[in-house]
Symmetry: C2
């Protein structure tokens, strides 16, 4: 046995992905410091107000897989407080409901409360002896070559600096670590806003004849009101409410100026949702809640030598229509850890060897991960049209049924795209490749059928 050398990692961003990374690196025996710009969300009454992010998320296989790995029971605890959704429930015109299951074998995605999941990760990390979490610390700049980060501590206005072996940027779509990385790194980068905004609304629980609180709609579906150029969705919460999200172009949000405009819009497009939300509640929430923008970000490379790497939304930001943002971010952590293992990063006491192996690991990670992140960003953009429009088209429905039938017969060889993305760990880019090849087979089969 050689003497233990403690490696230090500074994680910028104490959101979901940053905190999972903290747990993984603590598990490796590194000394972890997490710097979070915001206050500790666990001490706030209304977490939604703080984060300005969506209230609930859809957790699927990739995310669950990453939660399982550290062996701290995160996976079980999370599954104890999710609501499984086995398919989409389409709310068509005139209130007609149609269920489209996600998988032929009853696979589910899981609605989970963002604040609750973050609390679990924060509590878990805080229990670990080698993790320190500093809130209200805003990154000012980093010097990557020396490994020095400088923060402003907003709680007392002081400047705090820290020297580290590795900097992980998990600071989200508007990442400061990424901006800083753009100085020494020749980073290809693109960001694209979509014309749509989103606004969150609420469907409260209803009370049944016995005075018990219950869901106003079937809780085991992701509800969608597809209206071609816009849509509304709803995900269930454990308190038996639903969080609805209305997606539509900014101009259409701006065109609704009065309560009358709002009610006639809802009466025309989402009449069945009004009694569920309650007209008064709808009016209050619509005008009070922010109309948030959505964008897609791709960049490469993610790392600067062995010193810094960006993960999660800081590295790849996607529109929310495939429910993969958090899952992909969690998978980043899982993979990064895996690459550190593969390149034997910790199995050396010599600093130069450590640095060289870490450099190779980060380079290999960024090269592989960028391809997959770009693939899921593109798929999410494509699903933006699928969810609000394609889902009601007869040809789409027929193709989905054929794919489902083929998957049931050939479960390993013919897998629908949604299944590969949400219910497997197949690389995103591989999923796209297989999906295109499967489409080709279908075309060939169709053409052969024509000729008979």
């Amino acid at each position: 046995m050689t003497e233990t050398v403690v490696r230090r990692v500074a994680i910028v961003g104490g959101g979901l992905v940053g905190m999972l990374a903290a747990i993984y690196f603590a598990n490796r025996g590194w000394q972890v410091t997490v710097f979070e710009f915001r206050k500790d969300s666990r001490q706030l009454e209304d977490t939604a107000l703080l984060s300005n992010r969506s209230i609930n998320l859809a957790l699927s296989v990739r995310g669950l897989n990453a939660l399982k790995k550290p062996g701290l029971g995160l996976h079980e605890q999370v599954l104890g407080s999710v609501i499984p959704m086995k398919g989409r429930m389409l709310h068509l015109d005139k209130g007609r409901l149609v269920s489209h299951p996600y998988g032929v074998f009853g696979e589910c995605i899981n609605s989970i409360d963002r604040a609750q999941l973050l609390k679990l990760l924060l509590d878990t990390a805080e229990e670990l002896a080698n993790v320190k979490i500093l809130f209200e610390h805003q990154l000012k700049y980093c010097d990557f070559d020396s490994g020095v980060l400088v923060f402003e501590n907003h709680s007392n206005g002081s400047e705090v600096s820290q020297t580290t072996d590795l900097i992980i940027g998990a600071d989200g779509a508007y990442s400061t670590v990424r901006s800083q990385l753009m100085r020494p790194v020749r980073m290809n980068f693109q960001q694209e806003y979509i014309p749509h905004a989103y606004c969150e609304l609420n469907i409260p629980p209803v009370t049944d004849a016995d005075g018990r609180s219950k869901f106003a709609m079937d809780p085991n579906h992701l509800h969608i009101w597809p209206r071609h150029s816009f849509m509304m969705i709803a995900l269930p919460n454990t308190n038996k409410s639903f969080t609805c999200t209305l997606f539509m172009p900014f101009e259409e949000f701006e065109a609704i100026k009065t309560e009358n405009d709002l009610m006639s819009f809802f009466q025309k497009h989402f009449p069945d949702s009004i009694p569920l939300m309650g007209a008064q509640n709808l009016k209050e929430e619509y005008f009070r809640n922010p109309k948030g923008p959505m964008m897609s970000i791709k960049c490469t490379p993610y790392n600067y030598k062995e010193r810094a790497i960006i993960i999660g939304d800081a590295a790849h930001c996607m529109v929310p229509f495939y429910g993969q943002g958090m899952n992909c971010g969690f998978e980043d952590v899982f993979l990064l850890n895996d690459f550190l293992d593969k390149f034997n990063v910790d199995d050396t006491k010599d600093t130069n060897e450590f640095r060289e192996s870490l450099d190779r690991a980060l380079n290999a990670y960024t090269e592989r991960r960028h391809t997959d992140a770009a693939a899921i960003c593109d798929l999410a953009m494509r699903n933006y049209i699928e969810m609000r429009s394609d889902v009601v088209k007869p040809l789409y429905i027929i193709r989905k049924r054929i794919e489902g039938a083929l998957h049931a017969i050939f479960p390993k060889h013919f897998i629908p795209l949604y299944t590969m993305v949400s219910f497997s760990n197949i690389r995103y880019s591989e999923a796209v490749y297989r999906w295109k090849r499967q489409g080709l087979w279908l075309s060939i089969a169709a053409a052969a059928g024509d000729g008979s």
Copy 2:
């Protein structure tokens, strides 16, 4: 006559484009303040060291057109100190020289010294009563809604703030104004580095039998050594030297580690250039001069309401292979001025009316200009391959000759792409459109010829 109201513009960036904008706005009667991050380049011995930018530039019709407009004689003064280049001189293997003229009517692009042109613009602007230039002022942040900019004055460490009606960001590819704009504006943005770097070298004048200094090569050509995956070019300077630029992938620069590596590389690929540069001079310059990256930037929109707009490299950065970077930036200033005229921005004393007209003008400008900037960025990227590789291919040469012949016969209806870009004011996007249409005609003609 109404009472005069003085409008204020703060121009961030006192480079070529920023200074031309200062002259244009001063001409409109606005109160102009230019904030430049660097020291006054006129007071430095070696301007190349300060700016870390290319030494000479190719000025063509769009740039000249913009210099002409203010009517201050800029155009004439500039033409007095340029060296016209009527075509490309290809240095083929074994030192064979081939001249390709730029236009069938003898059109020239003009080699000009960056520092000299900047001095002319700075001197001219400084003479104007309503222009103030502040050097060593680095922008920290702007509040666009209130029109407040905050700078750090590096000469004394003080903080300087200024309130203005309009903020113009002419602060180059790494623009701070653009970064600041990305906060309130949902800006689509992309930057892409190419794998090549550039390194500047020098061919000094030679002394003839009578002891007079003269050019070592024909000065009225842009010299190119096309070598497929890399190339060298040379532009003449008024002191009878040439500035050479070697473009090649970063890895190939890095592979040249010793003087022997360098000399065998030059002996293999550019043997005719060694006696012109002098072996000792080549060795010194190659290892001393920086290897600079090149990138392409596109973004949209360029403005925030009526308050701010980015121009030049801050708005669109292109690889240097079409010689249009400065020309395009100067054309931005010309067009922006034109849009302010069209929307009668100054013909009102009422602040709200002024703001509304300025808002309309900036929105119209950004919508139109983005299309053209994207077109020239793409053309420049395309020319990156054309210059180093296509120029020596027989089919390329034949097509160029046919295009030239058709242009000579139908000078208004059939115009080669290079002519439209460099020797006309046709919109860049229109030039691309016409070029594609012309290509279609050629294909049709070729097919018809086949059938006869």
